[in-house]
């Protein structure tokens, strides 16, 4: 081995080199600015961060469609969609604060790391002033944390876990989508009416944060009306075959199976359960039933005939007949030739809400936007009168209870609306135990 010789000269040389290297970063100081990515020209850039690859790519694609549509409407192109029905009239179809809206897109891959990397690149490279989208709670929580640190606004897309506006809530993050607690509160009375108050439920739960919060919410809500929770079995996220989890259900004495699964997991577990003939069984003298607390159109389409008669909940559905929904479905349908999904709706609305908040605040400064959104009450966005609560940045609005349609006529109406649960029934206190432990902190404008 060559000797590591130290003599005076090389010591001085290397010492100087290392010193220079260490000193290099300190000569740079951050330059002064009012807030991060302040739009200086006549355009403003929004960042749309959705899964384009991976298990939720379909949902991501639909979100992207909706976001593009929202940008068109903001810039005064197309028929204006929900801008015409939105109760706040601050937006005039000339962009936001007179600046033309541009957007950049990124791929979250449904992974926290990749989502943060693509959000960061939009903020650092493209100068995005706001990040919108996403199709999983893990990603939403991760990107929300990033936006809080960086100092931009995060308008969450599809995220249903209680944690997003509970344990992991952040001042710069806002969620329009409903959550697991609301699903439970809306579903329970309908279930009690349909299946009675004397039921024994068996839960299969995807083994990660969203699955747990949903299981907890549904179990609490159903137990409150007299149901008994027989068992809760956690299933690994990567499972594709649930037969081994379904077989013990029959011997447990349960007469309801609750599937706390989403996406491909739910399609597979529901299909397995139906194949095992669970729904033809009579247990305890009652018909065996299956429940899927969180529905999406794409899942329902994937599960095909198996969803018939299965109850679940949704944030919004294109079959709603209010003016806002009709206007949105019309312009989405004209552009893309299909009805929008519930995740598309939430991303579209979030984009408009952000733009409106900027317009009302008169600035793109995240702290001004936070102030404008906190406690904001609006209507005409498809969910009835809605409140953005200041305590946790969660939207409170009506929740839809859905059922698999018995006679679907095409691939888009596989679900039918059973009940629109009024907002008062799904509200909860900000310090509810399922949401406790979080802290919004202070808004960060990145200055």
């Amino acid at each position: 081995m060559s000797k590591f010789q130290i003599n005076r000269r090389s010591l001085i040389k290397s010492g100087a080199a290392i010193g220079a290297g260490l000193a290099l970063p300190t000569i740079f100081t951050s330059s002064a600015r009012a807030y991060l990515n302040e739009p200086k020209g006549d355009t403003v850039t929004l960042g749309f961060n959705v899964p384009q690859t991976g298990p939720y790519a379909d949902e991501g694609l639909d979100e992207l469609r909706a976001q593009e549509l929202a940008v068109q409407h903001l810039n005064g192109e197309g028929d204006g969609g929900m801008l015409n029905t939105f109760s706040s009239k601050a937006l005039k179809g000339n962009g936001i604060l007179g600046k033309k809206v541009q957007f950049v897109t990124g791929d979250t891959q449904t992974k926290s790391d990749a989502a943060r990397a693509s959000a960061k690149s939009m903020i650092e490279k493209d100068g995005a002033i706001m990040i919108n989208g996403g199709s999983s709670s893990g990603v939403a929580v991760a990107v929300q944390g990033l936006c809080q640190e960086a100092g931009v606004i995060f308008m969450a897309g599809l995220t249903h876990s209680n944690d997003t506006t509970g344990k992991d809530k952040k001042a710069n993050g806002f969620r329009h989508f409903f959550n697991a607690y609301m699903s439970g509160a809306a579903l329970a009375p309908v279930l009690a009416k349909a299946y009675g108050t004397d039921r024994r439920a068996y839960h299969l739960t995807a083994d990660y944060t969203w699955g747990w919060t949903q299981q907890e919410s549904i179990a609490t809500a159903t137990e409150a009306m007299g149901w008994e929770t027989v068992n809760n079995v956690l299933t690994p996220l990567a499972s594709t075959d649930f037969s081994s989890y379904i077989a013990p259900v029959l011997n447990s004495g349960a007469d309801v199976l609750i599937l706390n699964h989403y996406g491909g997991n739910m399609v597979n577990s529901l299909t397995n359960a139906v194949q095992f003939g669970l729904r033809d069984k009579m247990v305890n003298g009652k018909q065996f039933e299956i429940i899927v607390p969180l529905y999406s159109e794409l899942m329902a389409a994937g599960a095909g005939a198996n969803v018939r008669g299965v109850y679940g909940s949704m944030n919004w559905n294109w079959q709603l007949q209010d003016e806002g929904s009709k206007a949105f479905v019309k312009s989405f349908g004209e552009k893309y030739g299909r009805p929008p999904s519930n995740s598309a709706h939430t991303c579209y609305v979030q984009t408009l809400l952000y733009a409106d908040a900027v317009e009302r605040a008169g600035t793109f400064d995240p702290c001004g936007v936070v102030e404008a959104l906190e406690g904001f009450e609006f209507d005409g966005m498809g969910n009835g009168p809605t409140l953005y609560r200041a305590d946790d940045h969660q939207c409170f609005k009506d929740v839809l209870v859905m059922k698999g349609a018995d006679n679907p006529t095409n691939e888009y109406d596989t679900l039918e609306i059973v009940e629109v649960t009024p907002r008062a029934q799904v509200e909860y206190a900000p310090d509810h135990p399922m949401f406790a432990g979080g802290d919004l902190g202070k808004c960060n404008s990145g200055a």
Binding site: T26, K111, S112, D113, K120, K125, T209
Partner: protein
Amino acid sequence: MLGLSKKDTTFLLVVIFLTLATPILLQPFPENSALAQFNAGYPDLMQRFAIFGIFAIGFNILFGLTGYLSFGHAAFLGVGSYSVVWMYKLLNYNVLPGLVLAIVMSGLFALFIGYISLRRSGIYFSILTLAFAQMSFNLAYSVLTPLTNGETGLQVYNNDPQVLMSEGSPTSPHFFGIVMNEATKVDVGGWQFTFSNGYYFCAIIAIIVFYLSLRIFRSPFGIMLRAIKTNQTRMNYTGLNPRPYTLAAFVISGMYAGLAGGLLAAMDPLAGAERMQWTASGEVVLMTILGGAGTLMGPVLGAGFIKYFENIFSKINDSILHSWFSALPDGLEDFVVFVFHPFIGKGWHLTLGLLFMLVVIFLPGGLIEGGNRIWNVISGKNRKKKRDEAAHHPKPTSHVN
């Protein structure tokens, strides 16, 4: 200098120069030009270049020198990240304790996994490491949620103890007051260069570990590792026990991976379980092979290449394509966009896959071989070589470039 031959010293100086000048070199297009889309000189991506460069350099010590193909290196990356975030949560946002813990923890992990896996070689070794990594991923994703926060990823909360945190200390990762996410933007003409503290922190560490790996490559220990790759049976017959050497190489490369994982969390205070998934392990294998396994610089190039595609190509969407080709007549424009569409945005995997195939088929030695060939054409080395071969006196070429 520093115990290196003259050639290696020059090499190291070139690497140092390239690393430090990265913020300028990666920003070749002016801000408002259509090609600015291809600029990569923003902090997050540059940090990733440096960090995954470190990851690949470490992996190369194992794979490039001993030939043992580990499919589980992402586990160490994850261990490193979790260590750093836990130090944030318990102490404060200074990255130093976390990075030290990351190296120690990943070293211990590597010792454990290596001790068991290295009882087998070849494909069995690869499968064993893959199994361990997948096990770690599942543990992190759900079983050990109190420790890792599962799917959501470990983050720092306002109510964490952070015992060393005082009033004035920074609220994001820093190195004794140098805050990682601060940067200076310099406008020169139409160009904008971003000099970020975080990048230079990673870059200096990358240079140090690159120097270390250079020393390992040139040391008797490195030669021993190469002997294992060449013919392990023969080594056994000479009475040498290769196990301690392979284990040492495994632990060293595990510590490199842990450092890389720690740096990821030092730049961005979150540790996600996906970091440990087998795809992440596969990625570093791709980086090493793409750049050139067994060469010093290759893995770093490969890492940069893959990260570039992941971050730049995935962000090109149809409307950007339309703006590029807007000069063309309408029908033709739509056609061109239609042709490019599968290769951009969500199709970046496809583009990367095609390039990977091209490299493996035409440049088995990776990007480094491509570089060498071009250099040889320019300097006319090939002709000289031919003459030498004609004389039946092939020059002994060095094994590693």
